[in-house]
């Protein structure tokens, strides 16, 4: 691109790709540690069975899902991601900030990388415009969906009575 001015040299994107990469390295280690490694942020076999039983007692739909085999039995030595443990972690606002940072930097770094790749291979102007537009729409949608998931995540607290019980 010979018509590019110094302002559009891509130096800012190049620099920010490295800065966001360094931030992601730190957040990624934290994320992998709590979501994929056998720590207290996951449920072990006994905890999983206890959580399942407690939720099934509170929620008939949960019981039905367990009985139908949609919520499966634990394997020997397995550590499992559960609604209970994830929402417990996210009830700490610092973890909400952590997950939001991970989401924002992850999306920025990922889609900035995609724009670089489009820049390298897509020569046709129309194709370029389409691909760049798809990237932006996808990135903004994922940000909205992800932010909603993280910010609204809260511990399960069903009403102690059923509305149908109050009907005559």
């Amino acid at each position: 691109m010979s018509d590019r001015s110094a302002k559009k040299s891509g130096a800012f994107g190049w620099f920010m790709q490295r800065i966001s990469g360094i931030v992601l390295l730190a957040t990624l280690i934290g994320h992998f540690w709590v979501q994929h490694m056998p720590t207290d942020y996951l449920a072990d076999e006994q905890e999983y069975l206890a959580i399942r039983e407690a939720y099934a007692a509170k929620n008939p739909e949960y019981r039905k899902a367990v009985e139908e085999g949609l919520i499966t039995d634990p394997k020997f030595g397995e550590h499992i991601i559960t609604y209970e443990k994830v929402t417990k972690r996210l009830s700490n606002p610092l973890w909400k900030v952590f997950d939001m940072l991970f989401l924002i930097f992850g999306l920025y770094h990922g889609f900035n990388g995609m724009l670089n790749i489009i820049d390298d291979y897509a020569k046709n102007k129309g194709v370029r415009l389409t691909l760049v537009a798809v990237c932006w729409v996808l990135a903004i949608s994922l940000f909205v969906i992800g932010a909603q998931t993280v910010l609204t995540a809260s511990p399960y607290n069903p009403p102690s009575f059923s509305l149908t019980e109050l009907l005559p």
């Binding site: 990624l28 919520i71 397995e78 609604y83 990922g110 994922l142 969906i145 998931t149």
Partner: protein, 146 residues
């Protein structure tokens, strides 16, 4: 000085796009470590964007314990566990190679880039094996010792 007959300086026929020619062209590249580092970085990056998209869409289930725990049960199948292991491999390589790029760019360590690429591969292998064990073990290793 290369002679005129040298294939590097001889006039080339125009490139005709075809599958065989594309393969021939790719094989004619000088596949040095830096090129492997670059192509693996790029492919793993695209892979992670695809994963991130599916991941964020899937996690909308976090508003409902029934939907979320059922989704996690789906992810706890042998096929998805292999996927999780592959994800660890991709993420680990991309992170460590990314760190290598940062050091080359910011510290001026480009003369050391080749050695650092081999170190990247070695360190990635260690982390993938150590971090991959707890992911794989309950599905593919523990059943043999029960």
């Amino acid at each position: 000085m290369p002679s005129l007959e040298s294939p590097k300086t001889a006039a080339k026929l125009p490139y005709v796009a075809s599958f065989q020619n594309a393969i021939r062209k790719i094989l004619s590249y000088n596949w040095r470590p830096g090129m492997w580092a670059w192509i693996l970085h790029r492919l793993s990056g695209v892979g992670m964007v695809v994963y991130l998209t599916i991941h964020v869409f899937g996690l909308r289930a976090l508003y409902d314990p029934v939907k979320f725990d059922a989704l996690m049960s789906t992810y706890r199948s042998p096929l998805f566990k292999i996927g999780e292991f592959a994800l660890l491999a991709i993420v680990t390589y991309h992170s460590i190679n990314g760190f290598r790029i940062v050091m080359v760019d910011f510290l001026g360590w480009s003369p050391k880039q080749k050695k650092m690429f081999y170190a990247t591969l070695a360190l990635s292998a260690i982390i993938i094996l150590l971090g991959g064990y707890p992911i794989i073990a309950p599905y593919f290793i523990a059943p043999f010792f029960k």
